[in-house]
Symmetry: C2
Subunit: 490 residues, 2 copies
């Protein structure tokens, strides 16, 4: 009880401390006056909504080869739009996969450059589950329904319209602006790294923001403060050249399913730690700030358990659920199969091969290549005699973690703008997910892209009946106008 | 070295001992003179081969519902054949599955009764892999090709022709004879137990033989001295109501694949024993006779390893490979799957369910029901907190082991006849396989059915281009004539 009290006091102190720190970035409202643009935004709302529906109607599903032409069409649509509002150098830039759309406006001499990242590609659809066709967008009760409306076309178009409003009203922007919209976010950005490496000068910027980001609610802003890295691998364990009859071999052939279970079992310690030697070597202890962030975040564990039909959340000892997911690296088997796996029937065999897929979520300083090498070493040391291991190349399913510092101007500006816009300070949220694009921007441009997008969690992105709130399209435009103005005034 | 020598000496002694014991059953050839029948057999060979081809042409695949009518047709064909040779009470007896064909001849007053078991159903075919259509039997170079020719129509028809020859030449049989041919052997004899329990009086016999059995080669007879029992089960481990995103749940949701691996890993000890408490309680230690049998059997481990692309055979410490397979019970995972198991791609999930199929091969005294209960108890004790286990009812995939004694008249008669016929004593072979029908006969009739069939291992049964040797059809007829004559003369 005493310990709990002490912890509570520590937490409150940290919360108060962080609050104080962030309050220092509160903007003087005069530096972000956007009243001049608000009228333009309002006057053009109906025209813009129609334009948005045209944008959403393009079925540019990046994971389906059949939609390759739609990808190109959508990229061209974006380029034309950027050109039409007065951006320079608007172009569709090809990669080995789907193209990247780029444009800039570099006439704000002596002012910093702001880069805005977003993506125009969308997820596949299970059309039967939609109330109305996913690529025939419709407006209903303040929402625009359609695949990609929320993720990520809404925030992308809001950024574009904000630039449009500023250029229309003033004939110029308060800062230099670069936009880059990729077409492969939904498939893990497999060609973005190469593209960025080859275009470093073109993309050079002082500040970067990602429009592929969430707000907590209509009234509560948030900023994402981390994404985990990812390392994936797949391997096969073999004990013979085919599954063998358990009447003839049961008892003498090394059972591949059982040998694989031994390996998988060896990957964790009884207290939930990853047992791979060296796995935690580069991991820094959770900071007080991180601990405070997880403690402050709204999180109803009981509700989440109930929704998922789970009995308990568990994992590495000494951490809360949110701490485990936000700040600790993990190793999960994502798939495993061996022997006779058909739904019905039974086969009397000793399996001679077993397959396993592993995904690690990594934290800052961990390199996916290094982690994979450590796991391979562990597997080799834990493979029973009589079994051989082979690895399958999975390609680009690895990326580093990104941790966003609160100690940068890019952070402070976004924090200030969101605070003014929502009348409330943003919640700072970690994330257990991975985002290849964020890792690539961080690495190739040397700075992170802070979250500055206007999706909300309930908008069914990646699911059916995806929608975007019309009010967030407006809020997004205000926010980008304020952000560029605020930075221009600094 | 000293220990090895001692063991060798012990083995040789046992071998000599067993040899001596069996030599005592050597028949006086005059008690099995079948020259009277040989002429009939020879005279009718061409007619009989045509008849055999008609039998094999019936595509009675018991596992495929589309062949239900063929099952009935084949049963009728057999009944008619049995009637035509003078057997009494020939009938097609229905079960809840495919019918049983029965006939008898009970006029040998004061003589014992011999029951002959076989099966008329056949395995499915992968027709594309056959050189000629599997149900258009053809004769080629002393072999009859066709599905079921070897397993088990050849030995069934040989027994029938032997009875035919004796009845044609003598108008009577030297003993009372009952035949029972089932139609569900290839699907695990799911209705045989109920049938036998309901027809105990009808099937009452002094000696029983199974025509569903092997000979080692053209010149080397063998007798199968054991089949293992079987106990099968399938269970699912669940940690949530669906697989969950590893970005949001990786680190806090109990991973079902990993939890299942823990359970599977716990099922064996590091020295290869089954770790389930009580699993070995009813198992008797391997006898000297069993040890000698395994030591004497022709077995080239290196060759078998090479054929199967395996590095080593392993398993329970303290036993050779053959001993493990013939005389020791085993527990094998036959199938296991969890999470994303498609051949291609990758899904970033924490699996919330995992599935496992287990097959135990059991030895004498072990009851499959008891073993299943012990394993369930073990699983319950080894299921991590946060997971639930559910079991799937697999139906009739369980049967007891059968061990054949060398100390019965039924054994001695068959041994003597095979010795005389082949001019060489049979090899006594254990088996790691299971055979529900043998377990059912043993239990319901109170005596085991000794192996007395004429398949050879290389005849591609269960595979494509199955064939039966014409010479074995002849040898089979001689053997059954000799067996009935020999028993009649005792």
């Amino acid at each position: 009880m005493k310990l709990r009290l002490t912890l509570l006091v520590i937490l409150i102190c940290y919360a108060a401390f962080t609050q104080k720190t962030f309050a220092a970035y509160m903007p003087a409202s005069d530096t972000t006056d956007i009243s001049a643009y608000k009228k333009y935004i309002s006057d053009n709302e109906q025209k813009h909504l129609q334009e948005f529906m045209d944008f959403v109607a393009i079925p540019d599903i990046s994971s389906l080869p059949a939609h390759k032409a739609d990808m190109q069409r959508c990229a061209e649509w974006l380029k034309n739009k950027l050109q039409s509002i007065g951006m320079a150098n608007a172009r569709v830039m090809s990669t080995e996969g789907h193209p990247v759309v780029y444009a800039d406006w570099n006439n704000a001499d002596g002012k910093p450059t702001v880069l805005i990242y977003g993506h125009y590609d969308v997820q596949p659809v299970q059309e039967a589950m939609w109330t109305s066709p996913p690529f025939q967008p419709r407006q209903d009760n303040g929402r625009i329904y359609g695949r990609g409306a929320s993720d990520d076309k809404g925030s992308v178009i809001a950024a574009i319209w904000a630039i449009e409003a500023m250029l229309q009203k003033e004939g110029k922007l308060p800062v230099n602006v670069k936009v880059i919209f990729e077409g492969e976010e939904e498939i893990g950005s497999p060609h973005l790294e190469k593209f960025m490496a080859a275009n470093k000068d073109l993309l050079k910027t002082d500040y970067a923001y990602s429009a592929d980001a969430l707000q907590k609610s209509d009234t509560q802003p948030e900023m994402g403060m981390s994404v985990r890295g990812a390392a994936t691998m797949e391997f096969t364990l073999t004990t013979a050249n085919r599954d063998l009859h358990s009447g003839i071999y049961g008892g003498k052939l090394l059972n591949a399913a059982q040998a694989m279970s031994q390996i998988v079992e060896s990957l964790h310690t009884p207290d939930g730690k990853v047992a791979v030697k060296g796995f935690y070597d580069k991991v820094k202890p959770m900071t007080a700030e991180e601990k405070a962030m997880a403690a402050k975040a709204p999180y109803d564990e009981q509700k989440e358990l109930q929704e998922n039909g789970a009995m308990l959340f568990t994992g590495e000892k000494g951490y809360t659920s949110l701490e485990r997911v936000w700040w600790r690296p993990t190793l999960d088997v994502t798939g495993m199969w061996s022997g006779y796996t058909a739904e019905e029937g039974f086969l009397n065999i000793v399996p001679a091969s077993a397959h396993c897929r592993i995904m690690c979520r990594l934290v800052q300083n961990q390199q996916s290549d290094e982690i994979i090498a450590l796991i391979k070493k562990h597997i080799a040391a834990n493979t029973p005699k009589g079994a051989t291991i082979t690895y399958k190349d999975l390609g680009g399913f690895s990326n580093d973690a990104v941790k966003y510092s609160t100690n940068t101007n890019a952070f402070k500006y976004a924090y200030a703008v969101l605070t003014q816009l929502y009348g409330r300070e943003p919640m700072l949220m970690g994330s257990g997910g991975s985002n290849a694009a964020m890792a690539i921007i961080n690495k190739q441009l040397g700075i992170p892209a802070y979250s500055f997008g206007f999706l909300q969690e309930d908008e069914n992105f990646h699911s059916h009946n995806e929608f975007m709130r019309v009010s967030d399209l407006e809020k997004g435009q205000y926010a980008f106008c304020m952000l560029l103005t605020y930075i221009g005034n600094k």
